[in-house]
């Protein structure tokens, strides 16, 4: 076995920036004797533009500030530091060429109000990226405007609503399987739909008979994820989408798990009418705190007129925004979406190519199956069959020694890895959901598997020791209950730390 990657190093303590402030210290000074006149700020700006002093506003030197933020950054764990098998999140490595291209001054410094004639390159990138996503999904048209996955879902459900209004139908329900992402029922409810939850079968898949039972002409759509949140491919998908279409409904696919399908299956060929893409998952742009997301929404030709406005059109090699589409759901946000993220996804697609994307999906599936096979029997596998890009275990075996999923996750931290997703999907008791992605080599997977075997062995021999984990990070097990019951969300002047 390789040496545990979670060895202990020197990590600095660092107080809040307010607490290291010293009156009179500052980071910049203008040298005397250069002939610049000094004026009171009040004489330069109108009163309405001046703000009151902020109580406790920190005064620090440059070196204080640099050390403060450098130390904080050292507490961070990211993909550049190690493996991040967070299921359903596709935490793949973010190639540096994405960042390089997104920082090109011609893109980075482009003003959102620049006239179309001066922004042709940016418009072309957006136009072509929409085209690539349409190609990958098999759908007719894609809007890049949604800021992240949840807004993509919101846009999608609004499109469904407007579509039914346009044909004079009033439908009130949306079917959501119990294995769905939490955002699916939330997006449906936000748009005024009643959510009909459908139970998965004992094989972890949607049972077409259950859909048949709930499908009627009051159901606007089904929202499903394929592969589903158990990492299983919905093998009855064609039957399911047929049942929905027969009664005039639409099929929405949550694109969270698209990383298993690129270049292999086109969602449109499975009967999907509308879907969102998570550029921050499938297309290698930063996820979570690393940068904003982006959740483009794609649709079939039939419902394309309802896409958000403006849409980008091409005419003889010239690109422009088209406004005023009367069926459009309207604007989702200021300007055109998270442009920097689009550039990164565009670079990813261009540098991978069609074959590369297909290989990425294939490798993601192989990696997940490798972990599943190596850990099967050591951890309980509730749905024992070939998985797609992620696999879901539970704490059933370790539970016999009173070791829970939470204990296992915390023990993984001590072994140098970010924990997988836990307690999701909800249909598995004590779920541990692992998604390795294609960007990890066999050595990384092997050392992760070794770490999990080690934890399983500890759970048998010395279960109490796992309750104390994590012991190696800067802080041990945090009091999540106190944090939720009594959250302290901001610093206040004069407030005692407690």
């Amino acid at each position: 076995m390789r040496e545990n990657v979670g060895a202990r190093g020197l990590i600095f303590n660092e107080p809040l920036i307010f607490d290291i402030s010293r009156e009179g210290r500052d980071g910049a000074s203008i040298p005397d004797g250069v002939g610049l006149p000094e004026k009171k700020i009040e004489s330069l700006l109108p009163k309405g533009s001046l703000r009151d002093d902020i109580e406790g506003f920190p005064s620090l030197s440059e070196v204080d500030v640099v050390r403060h933020f450098t130390r904080l950054s050292q507490w961070n764990y990211g993909l550049d530091g190690g493996f991040y098998p967070l299921g359903s999140c596709t935490m793949k490595y973010n190639p540096k060429i994405n960042e390089d291209m997104a920082s090109l001054p011609a893109l980075n410094n482009l003003h959102p109000y620049a006239p179309e004639g001066l922004a042709q390159g940016a418009l072309r990138i957006m136009y072509e990226l929409s085209d690539y996503l349409a190609e990958i999904s098999g759908l007719a048209k894609v809007s890049l405007q949604p800021s992240a996955g949840a807004q993509g879902e919101f846009a999608g459900i609004l499109i469904i609503k407007n579509y039914f209004e346009s044909i004079g139908e009033k439908r009130h329900k949306i079917i959501v399987p119990d294995s769905a992402h939490g955002t699916n029922p939330a997006s449906s409810a936000l748009c005024g739909y009643q959510v009909i939850e459908v139970k998965s079968g004992s094989d972890g898949l949607i049972d077409p008979a259950e859909i048949e039972k709930h499908m009627d002409d009051d159901v606007a759509a089904i929202m499903l994820t394929n592969p589903n949140t158990l990492g299983l491919f919905e093998s009855q998908i064609l039957k399911i989408t047929e049942i929905i279409h027969k009664k005039g409904g639409l099929v929405y696919m949550d694109g969270a798990n698209l990383n298993a399908l690129m270049g292999i299956v086109k969602p449109a060929d499975m009967g999907v009418d509308i879907m969102h893409f998570n550029l921050h998952k499938t297309f290698s742009t930063p996820h979570g705190g690393g940068g904003p997301g982006s959740g483009p929404v794609g649709v079939t030709k039939k419902i394309a007129p309802f896409l958000p406005t403006p849409v980008i059109v091409e005419n003889n090699g010239n690109y422009s925004f088209q406004y005023g589409n009367k069926d459009s759901i309207g604007r989702l946000r200021a300007f055109y979406g998270n442009f920097g993220v689009m550039v990164k996804a565009y670079v990813y697609i261009r540098s991978m190519g069609g074959d590369g994307l297909k290989k990425a999906s294939e490798t993601a599936v192989v990696n997940a199956n490798y972990i599943k096979e190596k850990l099967k029997g050591i951890y309980h596998l509730p749905y024992d069959r070939e998985c797609m890009h992620e696999c879901v275990f539970s704490d059933k075996i370790q539970g016999e020694n009173d070791v829970s999923t939470l204990d296992i996750a915390k023990a993984i931290i001590d072994r140098g890895f970010h924990p997988p997703t836990i307690y999701f999907p909800l249909i598995v008791h004590g779920a541990i959901m692992m998604e390795p992605t294609e960007t990890e080599g066999k050595e990384t997977l092997d050392s992760f598997i070794e770490a999990l075997k080690d934890i399983a062995a500890k759970a048998k021999e010395d279960p109490g020791s796992l309750k104390a984990s994590p012991e190696k990070p800067k802080v041990g097990r945090l009091d999540e209950t106190q944090a939720a019951r009594n959250p302290k969300l901001r610093w206040r002047a004069g407030q005692k730390d407690g």
């Binding site: 307690y423 909800l426 008791h429 999540e480 209950t481 939720a484 019951r485």
Partner: protein, 129 residues
């Protein structure tokens, strides 16, 4: 795990104590142990009417968020305001201080459909194995 024998139960892990025309409702010891530390409870307005299967309250724990379903048809008479500041009461005393609502019983026949302590205990044993 406790299953007090003066209570009725549901498959969704609520308990019901019948006091005259009123039903006191909470979640079971098993339910609270599965949810983990409860950090927030959303309570219904007094006077609201619910039918069996309607969600009348939401309980949020560190692990998950769960709807609490009305076992019977009835109107909310009283809610346990203490839970707003001390949701942990549900963990500490699920059958006493952790009660969630009191409802008037509109149709006493519905009580017959609820589970006895023995039936509920065997359901829990099945579910946890």
């Amino acid at each position: 795990m406790e299953f007090p024998d003066d209570l009725l139960y549901t498959k969704e892990h609520e308990w019901i104590r019948v006091v005259g025309d009123t039903a006191v409702i909470g979640i079971t010891d098993y339910a609270q142990s599965q949810l983990g530390d409860i950090v927030y409870t959303e309570l219904p307005d007094i006077g609201t009417e619910f039918a069996p299967g309607n969600a009348f309250s939401v309980v949020e724990s560190v692990k998950t968020v769960s709807d609490i379903y009305s076992p019977i048809t009835g109107t909310i008479e009283e809610v346990n305001d203490n839970l707003e500041s001390s949701p942990e009461q549900i963990n500490a005393e699920p059958y006493t201080g952790g009660w969630i609502v009191k409802m008037t019983i509109s149709n006493a026949d519905e009580l017959e459909k609820l589970l006895s302590p023995e039936e509920y205990e065997s359901l829990v044993n099945e579910e946890s194995h």
